[in-house]
Symmetry: C2
Subunit: 308 residues, 2 copies
């Protein structure tokens, strides 16, 4: 491949995304797969990576910057957490080198919060935040996902954050709980549906009733034959509403930067608007992680010299 300067990879629990970038960060090629952490550990992380690189004919010596769970204890090489308050420079400085790799491969660390603010961790979201921080962003950012993050950025640093298990609870409840029959056969959640909006409203107004409202999804199905689409939309809304009620403690009712992609983006935008939260900006999470990895690669690999 001609003009490739470096490779960036977002390697998570359940997905692998790789981009070949030129020196300016433009995408020359990409690869995606479901080779998450467990599958990759079994196959061998280097084998997985090099197979994708070979498919793109990436020359030896082209360096690779990665982020995500690949840097966890169960990953390829552990990239120890950087503690809050954590700045961009600190993350890049602490990028872990993979000593066994045949080319320069580094993994960005996650961020840990300890002490009075409460133990919390992120891996991957910090990289999505990097481009915003470089552009001078300050305030609260919301990053929806399996484990949604609400992150406070001050003076170019992540000063504190809270993770909500919203996405994981949604998945567990819809697939493995007594609520499952009530949502069986439902398609995706429509962010414009009344059931979603009511769920958001009820979850926000009474997060203490969440455990009861969840059971009532089943009761409404048993007693009233409530349909699966409305039940799934209400389930999603209740969980988002309860998350927003908690996030309000961090100023989550003021303006926020929403960093999201896929269906979550539309759901969170609709729910944030309903909750009266102004979204100052919305950003595609994938664009953000790629831009963050690019910035880290340029800094860590001193690309102007290496490409000479």
């Amino acid at each position: 491949m001609i003009g490739v300067s470096h490779i960036v990879v977002d390697w998570g629990t359940s997905s692998f995304r790789l981009w070949a970038l030129d020196r300016a960060g433009a995408v020359l090629a990409e690869r995606r797969s479901a080779q998450g952490l467990a599958a990759s550990a079994a196959e061998g992380f280097e084998t997985v990576l090099e197979t994708h690189l070979a498919a793109l004919a990436i020359p030896e010596g082209v360096p690779v910057m990665m982020c995500g769970m690949v840097g966890s204890r169960a990953g390829w090489v552990e990239a120890a957490y950087v503690d809050t308050p954590a700045g961009l420079d600190r993350l890049t400085e602490k990028a872990a080198l993979v000593p066994s790799a045949r080319r320069p491969v580094r993994i960005l660390p996650g961020i840990a919060q300890r002490g009075a603010q409460g133990s919390d961790v992120m891996r991957g979201e910090e990289t999505q935040l990097l481009p915003l921080i470089r552009e001078g962003f300050a305030g609260l950012a919301c990053l929806p996902g399996t484990h949604s993050k609400w992150v406070r950025v001050e003076e170019g640093k992540v000063s504190g954050f809270a993770t909500f298990m919203t996405g994981e609870l949604f998945h567990l409840l819809r697939s493995a709980s007594i609520v499952a029959p009530a949502v069986d056969g439902a398609a995706t959640v429509d962010p414009r549906s009344e059931a979603f909006a009511r769920g958001v409203g009820d979850g926000l107004a009474a997060p203490d009733m969440l455990g009861s409202e969840l059971f009532r999804l089943r009761a409404a199905w048993l007693l009233e034959g409530a349909g699966p689409d409305a039940a799934l939309a209400r389930l999603s809304g209740l969980l988002l509403g309860a998350e927003f009620a908690g996030a309000a403690r961090f100023g989550g009712r003021g303006p926020v930067a929403l960093i999201a992609s896929g269906p979550a983006a539309a759901l969170y935008r609709a729910a944030l608007a309903q909750a009266g939260v102004a979204t100052v900006t919305t950003h595609d999470a994938e664009d953000c992680v790629r831009a963050g990895l690019h910035a880290a690669a340029v800094s860590a690999f001193r690309l102007e010299r290496m490409s000479a």
Copy 2:
């Protein structure tokens, strides 16, 4: 078996409990098994029941009163819900006859709540409440379980109730979520432990933070190496505290009758005391369900005549 007047059975989603009683309700024999709904449907409800009765040499013609999920749509015969406000007499009158059974077999209905109070259902707990209602109980009752019930009793009737998915959430989170590794290897929850008490306090004070506190169980394990016993106790405490915060809407901070057995009884007693809730009385759930079934059997089968 000599002196047996009738059989009572509590047949739930995951367990089968049968007692042979004399006319006064004293226990002459009992049988227990894990033959819940799914297993019994496959084997045949009558086969399961008659096998247990044969093992106790119960004569033909001895009648059987049952309650629980065996009366649900997925059970042996559906015993349609009685709507709130629901009294003792109504439940017994509406006990469904199993037409195919070779002996008199009846199943008590559950109770449904519809309309403005919110859809909700119970099956089995109403039978646990019967003896209290017969003794003139009025007020709020708490029945912990996979799906905990908070039930208001007025003038001998169940006037309203709310179900909280506390037990099911506990099971899902400890076994199938990202919290699982943090509690792996933990024994049972010690109701006297500080971790449990702190969890109750935090869940009660900030139920909106539940989704975040759950994730922090994992973070504390990752960052601080928090032990599984403390993490499991905190998980249990957080969920109970959040339930109590919701139950407070129904007067759940006033005195309550606690109907529970097994480990849940001690956990709820400790947590209720910590939450400042006075338990007027505590009752063993198994004694209650047996007494309720006995009362219903005496009424439905007119036993003084049948045993002549």
